[in-house]
């Protein structure tokens, strides 16, 4: 029988980072019409917008996507065109991207998606905050370049 804790172990042993990056790349390519690629680690991300989606069940944790305000607006415009005219729509767009990345990621993990639920997305605007997840196990971090701007993606899993 597979126990919940084995997923955290699997994440560590199987190296899920390329799967997470692929999930991000697919969402950006299909929904935003833009190819993103992993960036080198020296890219610092100004997290003026942070979208997060919780994962519960067999795979427990939180997925966050951070970027600056200009990039978040660019994400929204890529999805909506000129209809993206308010901060609410910018936040909504980034939250939906986070939601699709989380879903796409878990759908790629054999045996995980059947027993893992996603929360509705939450989006924080403003950089002056500290974020602490109770999912204090391993985390996977990657930075991808979207139209030249860095977007940070983190999956933190419960240990």
């Amino acid at each position: 029988m597979t126990t919940d804790i084995s997923f955290a172990t699997r994440a560590h042993e199987e190296n899920w980072l390329p799967i997470l990056e692929l999930a991000v790349e697919e969402v950006f390519e299909i929904m935003l019409g833009s190819r993103v690629k992993p960036a080198s680690s020296e890219h610092l991300v100004n997290g003026e917008f942070t979208a997060m989606v919780g994962l519960a069940g067999a795979l427990c944790g939180v997925l966050t996507i951070r970027c600056d305000a200009t990039t978040a607006r660019h994400v929204a415009k890529s999805m909506l065109g000129e209809m993206a005219d308010s901060e609410q729509q910018v936040a909504d767009a980034l939250g939906e991207v986070c939601n699709m990345v989380a879903g796409n990621f878990k759908n790629k993990l054999a045996g995980t998606d059947e027993r893992c639920l996603l929360s509705v997305p939450t989006v924080i605007s403003g950089a002056e905050y500290s974020f602490r997840s109770m999912a204090d196990g391993d985390s996977m971090d990657t930075v991808l370049l979207f139209e030249g701007a860095p977007v940070a993606v983190r999956l933190q899993l419960q240990g």
């Binding site: 209809m83 939906e96 879903g103 998606d113 639920l117």
Partner: protein
Amino acid sequence: MDKIRALIVDDSSVMRKIVERSLRQAGIELDKVVEASNGAEALAALQGNVVDLILCDINMPVMDGLEFVRQVAKVESAKGIPIVMITTEGSESHVVAALSAGARGYIRKPFTPDQVKEHVLPLLGKKP
């Protein structure tokens, strides 16, 4: 093709716009689009609107998409309206649950306009 009236149910206003745009890109002419942000709102919308097609997310607050599909099956005036789920939930159990409840199609996010075309047009009696 006759113009159709669509009900789009998703808690994300951005996704509702994208679904509407995808329908248009699929060559479907829309006479009217009714939007709802959860299943309960969508049920209420069905009381005052006649629609030909429903596209519905699963994970939503208040009433999720699966419960909405079950409830629609009890509404006499809504019987026969094709419902297509558009969702991040890709598991086989969700697909089976949705189709068992009465949904006629299932599209996983992220999706392309071609996928919308492929799944929706046959339900409107057209070739994709």
